[in-house]
Each structure stands twice: as C-alpha cells, then as structure tokens.
C-alpha cells in the first residue's frame, strides 16, 4: 500500500532478521556508537582516584585500631574514654549503614539508565536480561559497602577484642567483612523485593530509619550510662572465630536466599515502577555529578510532595513581604517529620566528637555544630532559593527584593538558633560540655550562622562550563568559591560560640561577643545582599 511517506514496506522486506535481539546485542549497538572522549574517561578515573584518597584519609584513623590494640588492652590501658569511643563508633557504623540502605531504597535500588527505561524497558527484550546488569551493579556496590561496614565495625571494637595474639587474625577480618557484605546485601535485596510494593517499601525505609535512630540514641546513652557501655564492650570481648563464622555463614545464606528471590522476580519486575525510579535516579545522579544542590533539593521536594493532598489555607493577612515569607513557614509546618529529623540530628555533634577523635570537645564538635546549624537554616530558605531563578511570585505580589529578603531571614535564623540551642543542651546533658550558659550561647549564635544558609540559598546554580579564576591551586570554579565563602560567613557568624566549644569554656562576655557578631554578620549580609540586584 502507499502512504504519504511513500511505499510502505512490510517489516520482513526491510532487512529485518528472524531472530529476536538480545540485550547484549542492543547494549553493544549503543556502546559502539557512543562517542566518549578521552577527557570523559580521564574525568571518571580522576574522580575515582580522588574518592579513594578521601576515603583512605577518612578510614585511616578508625582502621588503625585494628592493629596493636589488643596488647594495649591486655596491659589494662583501655580507658573509659576508649570504651565510649568504641560504643559511639560502632553505633555510628550502624547508623551510617542504615542511612546508606535508605539511600539505596530511595534510588530503587534497582534502576536502569533513564534512556534504557524509555527505549528498552517497554520492548520485547527479556526483562530479566535487561535488569541483570543493574542488579549486579547494585549487588557489587552493596557488597563493597557491606565489607567496609563490617571491617569498620570490627575496628571500632578493636581495643576489646580478645583474640590472644598481637595482631588481629586475618580470619576475623575476613569473616567480619563477609558478615558485613552478607547483611548489607540481604537488606538491599529485600529492598529490591519491596520496590514494586509501595507499602513494603515504606515499611523497610521506616525500619532502617528506626535502626539509625536507635543506634544514635544508644551511642549517646552509652556515653552517659556506664552500664550500657560495659554491656557493649563485654559483648565485643566475647567475639570469637566461631561466632564470627556463624554470623558470616548466616548472613551469606540469607543474602543468597533473598538474592535468589530477587533473581526470580526480575522477569516480571513492573515497568511502571522501574520507569519512575530510573528517572528519579538518573536526575539525582546527574545533579550529584555536577554538585547541583538546587536540583537535588528539587528532587527531594518533588519526591515528598508528589501525590499528596494538602488542605488549602487562606493567605494570611500580613504585610506583603511577611505574607511572601509565610510560604516557608507553612511548608515547614507541613513537614513535621523533617523537623523531627533535624531535632534528632542535634545528637550528632556529641556522637561525632566521641567516635571520630575520642575527645569530648574540640574542632570536630565545633565543625558538626556549624554544619548542622547551616543545614537547619537551609531548611527555611526554600522560597529564597526559588527566587534566585524565578522572581515572578515576588514581583506579582509587588514586594521589594530587600523587604522580601529581610522577611525571609527570620525563619532560617530561628531554625539555626533552635538547632544550636538543642545541640548544645544535649552536649551539656551528655556531659560533653559543662555550664548552664551553653543553650543561651547557641540561641544567640543561630542568626549569625543563618547568614551562611541565606547566602548559599541565594547562590546561582552551578554552571559546569564556568572555569573561574586561576588561583594558585589551579582554575577554581566560581560555584566552589561561592559556597566556600558561604561557609566562611557562617564560621565568622558563629566564631565566638565555636571557639568556646573548642575550649569548653563559656562566660557571659562570650555571650555578649556572640550577640554582637551575630548582629553584625547577619545585618551586614542582609544590607549587602539587599543592595545587590538579582
């Protein structure tokens, strides 16, 4: 027959083959035509090397506990400080593992590339063959993370392990790594089984969140109550080759069973779920690759609000600028879980200090306080961030840019202040810091640190093509400079408090100094930013 397109050919006449295509041949087709430059390969290789260097730096200190600590313990040198460090460290490993598992579930865990999900998923190709590689990748990454978690957990228990030799037996290390990999893989595979069932997916995520929360609370409690500390360290001391062997065999068997169930389910894995998850994972990876925080934030927000029904409320009878800022307050009021997580995060400074450096106070706690306060402040800057790209709403309401910025500064300042107050109160409660002025100091420091959050929110999205100035360290992209400067602003804004935390000394003079610094930093930033046209 003939159409406008010309003679229509039957498929058989167009050079088609009689045999169905395999996923392998399709991937070969795509790979053979993909133009990947040497620069791309170099960039990927460079990123991997840099990642390994950072990881080794981070893990050197904890892993050093694996060597030579048994002798020290035998000599009775394992102090109470080392005990709290071991408990906190082990809890942190559990919490991080739970967090990684939640992250894996947020991305699927099984997902294909967005292009594959569009062109190959809804096709006659075998679903199992198509998902084989992404599943293997997830399993590989899961096993790697599990090995790291297993070894780290053993390292945290280092001073209390009773292996009877100077050096840690290699078998213990291997069994611990295998146990970690087995447990991690079993949970990741369980996540894959739950992926098509929204209710189970939510439950599994809630379980991981609960484990993380319990670990954090347990670690802090371990620092406070020696009974718990003794119980945990006694548990470490009972570790034996047999116990580790049983754990390793059990976890591997469990992972194998759940993995087999996943393998069986791959053939009928629902395309709809895969398409949604693959699109989300693709966007998130792209945003992460370019450090595009606004896009990552948008993905998280979209993921949260999609499909929800919200009760509409009347716009409040406030001055225009305040009414504009009210959107941030309402958004946060609709996310009580987020506020709860932020409040729970106030425990991290106490935990991090004990687990990483073993010191009750110091720069580790100061750094986590600064980072936590900035993060808390950022949760009140959603509309400020949006206005950086699109000022339509502000213009529509006829609000002056400076007035809008002033009105919107209140929430991040309050959030940072509240978070610092809570974190410092918990540091006092757990005995890390001493004195009753700490909560007041935290509240006063909040607005100063919030200037950093506001500055970050107003930073333009990252343009990867922008090379930036050539500094002594080489070409430095503007987004990096801008975000680093925001942290410096936060550092200055909270300096009196951070210095006091480092020294574990708080005086009324320090409060006055912090009050002045907060007023100058936040006020100065608002004055300068209000005069800069966006």
């Amino acid at each position: 027959m003939t159409t406008d397109a010309g003679t229509v050919q039957l498929a058989d006449e167009t050079g088609a083959t009689e045999t169905p295509s395999s996923v392998r041949s399709i991937r070969s087709f795509v790979r053979g035509r993909r133009r990947r430059s040497w620069l791309d390969v170099y960039a990927i290789g460079f990123a991997i090397v840099i990642g390994c260097i950072y990881a080794s730096d981070l893990l050197t200190a904890p892993l050093s506990r694996l060597s030579g600590t048994a002798a020290a313990h035998a000599a009775g040198q394992a102090s109470s400080l080392a005990a709290s460090q071991a408990v906190a460290g082990a809890a942190l490993v559990v919490a991080i593992t739970a967090g990684l598992l939640m992250l894996a579930q947020a991305f699927g865990p099984i997902a294909v590339s967005p292009a594959d999900s569009f062109w190959l998923l809804l096709s006659p190709l075998s679903r199992r063959a198509l998902l084989r590689r992404p599943t293997a990748t997830v399993a590989g990454l899961g096993a790697l993370a599990g090995v790291a978690a297993g070894v780290l957990a053993l390292a945290m228990a280092g001073p209390y392990l009773q292996h009877g030799s100077r050096a840690l037996p290699a078998a213990w290390l291997a069994l611990s790594a295998v146990s970690g990999a087995g447990i991690f893989l079993a949970i990741v595979f369980a996540g894959a089984l739950a992926q098509p069932r929204e209710r189970w997916r939510t439950r599994l995520r809630a379980c991981c969140a609960a484990v993380a929360a319990i670990a954090v609370v347990g670690a802090v409690a371990g620092e406070r109550w020696t009974a718990l500390e003794h119980a945990v360290t006694a548990g470490f001391a009972r570790t034996s080759t047999g116990a580790l062997g049983v754990l390793a065999a059990g976890s591997v068997a469990l992972a194998a069973v759940v993995g087999a169930l996943v393998w069986l389910s791959l053939g009928r894995f629902p395309a709809g779920v895969l398409r949604t998850d693959s699109a989300r994972a693709g966007r998130a990876l792209l945003a992460a690759a370019f450090l595009n925080v606004p896009l990552l934030t948008w993905i998280a927000e979209d993921n949260h609000w999609r499909g929800r029904l919200l009760p509409s409320r009347a716009w409040p009878n406030l001055p225009p600028a305040m009414a504009l800022a009210w959107a941030d307050w309402r958004r946060l009021g609709r996310r009580p879980a987020l506020l709860t997580v932020l409040a729970g995060g106030a425990l991290v400074p106490a935990l991090a200090g004990a687990a990483i450096t073993g010191k009750p106070h110091g720069w580790t706690i100061a750094a986590t306080l600064l980072a936590g306060a900035i993060v808390a402040g950022l949760h009140g800057t959603a509309t400020t961030r949006r206005d950086t790209n699109d000022q339509t709403l502000r213009r529509m309401l006829g609000v002056d840019a400076r007035a809008a910025l002033l009105a919107r500064a209140a929430l991040p300042a309050l959030l940072a202040a509240a978070w610092l107050t809570l974190a410092l109160t918990l540091l006092v409660a757990t005995g890390v810091l001493h004195g009753w002025l700490w909560p007041a100091l935290g509240f006063i420091a909040g607005p100063g640190v919030a200037a950093a959050a506001l500055r970050m929110a107003r930073t333009a999205p990252i343009n990867p093509a922008d090379q930036g100035p050539n500094l002594p360290t080489g070409p430095t992209p503007p987004w990096l400079i801008s975000r680093a400067l925001s942290v410096v602003v936060g550092l200055i804004g909270g300096y009196p408090m951070l210095r006091a935390v480092h020294a574990d000394q708080v005086h009324p003079d320090g409060l006055i100094a912090q009050l002045l610094v907060s007023a100058v930093v936040l006020g100065g930033y608002l004055f300068i930013a209000g005069n800069v046209p966006q």
């Binding site: 027959m1 159409t3 406008d4 397109a5 010309g6 003679t7 229509v8 050919q9 039957l10 498929a11 058989d12 167009t14 050079g15 088609a16 083959t17 009689e18 045999t19 169905p20 295509s21 041949s25 399709i26 087709f29 795509v30 035509r33 993909r34 133009r35 990947r36 590339s113 967005p114 292009a115 999900s117 569009f118 062109w119 190959l120 809804l122 096709s123 006659p124 190709l125 075998s126 679903r127 009928r268 629902p270 395309a271 709809g272 398409r275 699109a279 693709g282 499909g307 929800r308 029904l309």
Partner: protein
Amino acid sequence: MSADATVVAVRGLRVGYGSVVVLADIELTVTAGEIIAVTGVNGVGKSTLLTCLAGLHRPAAGTMSVLGGAPRDDPAFWRAVALVADQPTWYPGLTVREHLELIRLTHQPLRGWCLPADELIDFFGLAARADASPLDMSSGQRQRLSLAAALARPSRLLLLDEPEQSLDADFRVELAGLLREGYADNGGTVIMATHDADFALAAGAREVRLSDGAIVPDDEDYEDATDEADEADDADDVDGSDDADPTDEADDVNGSDDEYGTGDAEDADDIQDPGAWTAHAARHTRPRA
C-alpha cells in the same frame, strides 16, 4: 463486529491516586483499525487511561482486556503495544538515525506494518538532522522523532499521549494521514489523548470524551454542548457583542444541533463528518460560563 476484532475492552474501570478518584466506571470498546481520540479538559484522566491500558498503572477496580487479555507487561505485550507518552530521554551520543535503528533492532524480528528508518526520517522532516543528536534539536523535532520511533517497529495498538504537542499545523495533518492510511488501514488501532479536534478529525478518529472522570454519554454530550452554546449566546446577547462566535460558525457549518446525540450509529457518522467534528470541537473548546 466480531468479538475477535475487539482490541480493547474496558469494563467498570476505576482508577485513583491515593484517595483521589481520577476515573470511575469507564466502559470502552475499541475494535481493530479504529482510531480513538480521548478528549477532555486538563487533568480529567486521559493520560491515566492510556497508562492503565499500557499496564503501567494498576486500576482500583474493573476489568481491562487489551489484545485479548489483561495488560501483561511482558515481551509479547510490548511487541504488540507501542506507547508514546512523556518526553523521552535520549541516548547521549546517538544520532536521530541511530535511535530509529535501535528501535528496529530492539523489536526484531519485524513482522507487521512499520516503516524503515530512511522513510521515517523523510516523512517526519528530519533528513537535515538525521545525523544530529536529538539533544540538539528543537522540541518539535524531538516530538517528531518520538512519533517516528513508534512507527519504526510493528505494533497492533498505538497509545499516544497528546501526539500533536509541539508539532506545526501542517505536519499534524500529514501525521493524521499517516496514522489513518498507513497504520490503521493496515489493521493497527490507535488510542490517543488529544486536545486538537482538527488533528483528530483529520485522522478520522472516534471521539471518547471524558468529563469528571467518566466517559460522557453521547446524549449528555449533546445536552452539555447545547447548554453551553445557549449560555454563550445569551452572554453575547447581553453584552451586545458582535464578535465572531465559533459556535455560531459551527452551527452554520453543521446546519443543525440535532445532528448530535441521535444515537450511536448516527453519532459515529457525525464524527466522521468534517462539519460535525468542527462543530463538536467548537462547542467543547468553548470556556464554561
């Protein structure tokens, strides 16, 4: 019509997102070779109906039969069903031609009506961009490529979500012709969600109008249309406006409102009639008072 010719049979379909009911009690039968235009206002559930038929969204209640069985989400189903919805994600580094070749390779062996890559490139006006990456093309050209990809492989049911998006008016007519004379006349069935009455008319489509989550019965369709037209006429009378009224023009073309809603067979005839379609479209695109 024989039972064997039924491609899609939907009975009592009910679909929701959480507590929000989007579609309720949908009854629809589509036979081989038909082109169906699912119309309705934004958010009425047109795309949801398509994703349900593709098996990507599970309905809360009701039964669906697509090509003789429930949507199965297996290789055999996707060999027979092609879906063009959402904006595709393209392979970075693959050209337009390579994307089409990839589709044909994926659906081997190609048994049934489809067009070779070269003809598709010519027909869809992509010859000058055949060796370009889709990422470098305009939104309209990308939409053309998405539709071309659906016709590069054989299928028995084509599900299109607003295929007219970003396409220029002339090409919409050409595309409608290809769907009618190329795809449907070779036994293929098309179900498309669309807002373009002219496009649906050119494709010779039967209209299925959704309103408030349900298919509007033909007689109710007529009453709504008449009411809306009367209200609009009254409004014109009140303000004394002499502005051209598309409904009036439609009435002139159509001759009489009575051509609507006089029964299934007559209504089907009306839909095939260009005058009827124009009038129909004019009524349904008129804003509510």
